[in-house]
């Protein structure tokens, strides 16, 4: 067995997840079939997305049960090897167990984390939302919600929108009360903002006076909050909550100031905490950056579609471990920036602002998408907004932060599960067409489930080729950022991943879901040539190969390597935009003593 054929991980009977097939030959000479990340990061997100119901009226509790069931069913189906494997045979790529594998996976966003853990039956939908929102308002440790320390994106838009959808459809009073109480800390509408504004002509509020706790007499009751001066003014009373967190409810008023601005014919307001009261470290510099970001992004967005009325709110909720959210309200769009954003550089800060305004743009421009659950179209909503923000601020590079996570979960995952990392797809399209054509392409999409969305893509002429070419460029790491730098997507098998099999066999390129890619490495014994035979792909599916060490892509040749002692590793990329999962295989026969 060559070094590159080392088998790692647990044996098949323990893991029980591999989908590769092969048959053992008599002479026992090994081929290797390396499938780098395959099932190790088999996407629970895509399962979740697939079963996320299109009708908003369908209770999400039912959806959660369905997600969990289908997630289990998908595992049960795809995890069964297609041919029998003797226990003495070295096994194909080892995989993590479903539970550990999914919960330990990196998540792209809070929404993706919710979908993963719900599909994994760690939470029901309501409990997941309750916990996640509690973490966002500081009532629960973030570590309780996130199994991994970092997310690829701290945009809370998708999570908040999904929670709102859930509450709109779920009639359970307990859910409305528990989830709603946390949601109130994160959301508000224009009327609320107006109500919190300092009255015109009113003197600026003074800081809340902190006085020592009083020493109470024997017949006095303890005060509710000795931290604040009990003889405070109305401002102080109204702004107590504001000082502690974000102003909420009818009692918290007069704590905000607003500045009117205008860009490209669009008037907007930037709401800030009254600086004299507690500035929460928002400064004039931040407000200038916001204006710069909007004046740069707005012309770009307006040239491509619609941007609704929007405002920007500098929030004071320090507990929210997020950077920003876009509240998609019926009366306009509210872009909320949280104090964590203050850690960003100027350009990155502006890019995040541009991304949030682009969220407003997506909502207003693509009516069909806006009417469906956020989760089912988050790859377009978040991905396109992220891409457009990088066009506005090419050197901000905020979008690049999702690449590391994406590379852990991209294998066999439908593009519809890529969330904000789907910017890579739009970035690739930008190298092939202009932005207006990208918008037209998105505008032609429809459907709620990933298969429906894939079908709508498949209806477009040439999209199967385009998606396949995207997969090849992605695998090669040949997609360029707006700034011109290469996106770090180049494929590499995990160290030691792989398994040795015999010199004759049928190698499954594994199941490729709709709108997904699958990369595999076939390793021929170094002193042999092999006959390869691949069946014609199904509709919407395309398979290409090239020498792992480099070279150009092409169909799978019948003889590999073309000469003795050339690169004996063949990289195979299979893509599928058909509605059904695509499974194929390559028959391999070694030629004895050719070299």
């Amino acid at each position: 067995m060559s070094d590159s054929c080392r088998r790692v991980g647990r044996p098949q009977e323990e893991v029980g997840q591999d989908t590769s097939t092969y048959e053992r030959a008599a002479d026992g000479r090994p081929f290797c079939f390396v499938d780098g990340l395959t099932e190790t990061f088999r996407s629970p997100i895509s399962h979740a997305a697939r079963v996320w119901r299109p009708a908003k009226a369908l209770p999400l509790l039912l959806a959660a049960i369905l997600m969990a069931t289908l997630s289990w069913a998908c595992r049960a189906t795809t995890d069964v090897p297609q041919t029998s494997v003797s226990s003495s045979t070295p096994q194909p790529v080892a995989t993590a167990s479903p539970t550990v594998g999914t919960s330990a996976n990196a998540s792209l966003s809070y929404l993706d984390n919710l979908l993963v853990r719900t599909a994994d039956e760690q939470w029901d939908v309501a409990r997941g939302m309750e916990l996640t929102l509690e973490a966002l308002v500081g009532a629960t440790a973030v570590g309780v919600v996130l199994p991994q320390p970092r997310l690829a994106s701290y945009d809370l838009t998708g999570l908040i929108d999904t929670v709102r959808e859930f509450l709109a459809d779920d009639p359970t009073p307990a859910h409305k009360a528990q989830i709603g109480s946390s949601l109130r800390f994160l959301t508000f509408d224009r009327a609320q903002l107006e109500g919190m504004l300092l009255e015109p002509g009113a003197p600026p509020p003074t800081p809340l006076k902190i006085t020592p706790p009083p020493v109470l007499g024997p017949d006095e009751t303890d005060r509710e909050d000795p931290f604040f001066d009990p003889a405070s003014t109305a401002y102080d009373t109204d702004c107590k909550l504001f000082f502690r967190r974000f102003p909420l409810g009818p009692g918290a008023t007069h704590c905000l100031v607003a500045r009117e601005s205008q860009a490209d014919g669009h008037a907007y307001r930037v709401y800030s905490p009254a600086p004299s009261l507690a500035p929460f470290y928002w400064s004039e510099t931040h407000r200038t950056w916001i204006d710069d970001a909007i004046s740069t992004a707005l012309p770009l967005l307006l040239a491509l579609g619609d941007v609704p009325t929007f405002d920007v709110i500098l929030a004071v909720n320090l507990d929210a471990p997020g950077e920003a959210s876009t509240l998609l309200n019926s009366d306009g769009c509210e872009v909320v920036l949280y104090t964590h954003l203050q850690n960003r550089s100027e350009t990155a800060f502006k890019q995040v602002v541009a991304r949030q305004v682009a969220n407003c743009f997506v909502e207003a421009t693509f009516g069909g998408i806006a009417d469906t659950p956020y989760a089912s179209w988050r790859w377009v909503r978040d991905g396109l907004a992220t891409y457009l923000s990088s066009v506005a601020f090419p050197t901000g590079d905020v979008e690049l932060e999702s690449l590391e996570t994406l590379r852990q979960i991209d294998e066999g995952m439908s593009l519809t599960g890529w969330s904000s990392a789907a910017f890579v797809w739009f970035q690739y399209l930008a190298g092939r067409m202009d932005d207006e054509q990208i918008i037209d392409l998105v505008d032609s999409l429809h459907g709620s489930s990933s298969t429906e969305q894939a079908a709508s893509l498949n209806e477009l002429p040439g999209l199967d080729d385009l998606f396949h070419e995207f997969a090849l460029a992605y695998t090669d790491g040949a997609i360029h950022d707006t700034s011109g730098s290469q996106l770090m997507t180049a494929w590499a098998p995990q160290d030691g991943a792989g398994t040795s099999v015999d010199n004759t066999g049928s190698f499954a390129v594994q199941s490729v879901p709709s709108l997904a890619m699958r990369r595999s490495l076939l390793v021929i014994p170094p002193d042999r040539l092999a006959h390869l035979e691949a069946p014609a792909p199904a509709s919407g599916a395309i398979t290409s190969s090239r020498a792992y060490g480099g070279g150009s892509w092409g169909p799978i040749e019948t003889l590999y390597p073309p000469e003795c002692f050339r690169d004996n590793r063949l990289l195979v990329v299979a893509t599928n935009i058909g509605s059904d999962d695509y499974s194929t295989g390559i028959s391999v026969t070694a030629l004895d003593a050719v070299c």
């Binding site: 800081p207 020493v215 109470l216 006095e220 964590h340 850690n343």
Partner: protein, 168 residues
């Protein structure tokens, strides 16, 4: 300087019981007497620390806002050496200088400190977090003054350079 801690607690419990019977209301929100050790004492007597480790990070005790994130990984011991200055972050450092001493006082079984860490009176941690969060330097200095006064009520622990602290 003062009676033993157990005697004081006993006396306080008696007051609470009598008060409850007599007035039917809460009678006290001070949990100790008027004792408090200064930041300088805690800096020089780490052997007297209870519950806290001098090397622990500030953000393990307090919530440090993003704008003050450069302070987050400073140790509790380092905070006891913080100085002031003109910027908002300097006011925050002044507050933290006394806030660390305050939590050490409140955590110590040997100090009858007037404030609690996690509840009334004051709720030191929440109060400090709120003051840091708001970013208003005046608010920070207000709270600093309150803690400063309490931290200088008088230290019942004898400084002992060679070994651990001894009760006076």
């Amino acid at each position: 300087m003062r009676g033993s801690r157990s005697a004081r607690l006993l006396a306080m419990a008696a007051v609470l019981i009598v008060g409850s019977i007599g007035a039917g209301s809460v009678v006290a929100n001070r949990i100790g007497d008027d004792e408090g050790c200064s930041p300088g004492f805690w800096k020089n007597n780490t052997g007297a620390w209870q519950e806290y480790d001098p090397a622990s990070r500030l953000d393990s005790v307090f919530t440090i806002p993003a704008a003050l994130s450069e302070l987050a990984d400073d140790s509790l011991l380092a905070a006891l050496s913080f100085n002031g200055g003109p910027a908002t972050i300097d006011k925050a450092k002044l507050l933290l200088h006394h806030a660390v001493a305050a939590v050490l006082n409140a955590a110590s079984e040997d100090v009858g400190y007037p404030y609690r860490r996690f509840g009334p009176p004051l709720g030191i941690v929440a109060a400090v977090n709120a003051a840091l969060a708001g970013g208003n330097p005046d608010t920070m200095l207000d709270l600093k003054d309150i803690l400063d006064e309490a931290n200088n009520l008088g230290c019942p622990i004898a400084a002992d350079e060679s070994g651990g602290p001894k009760k006076k």
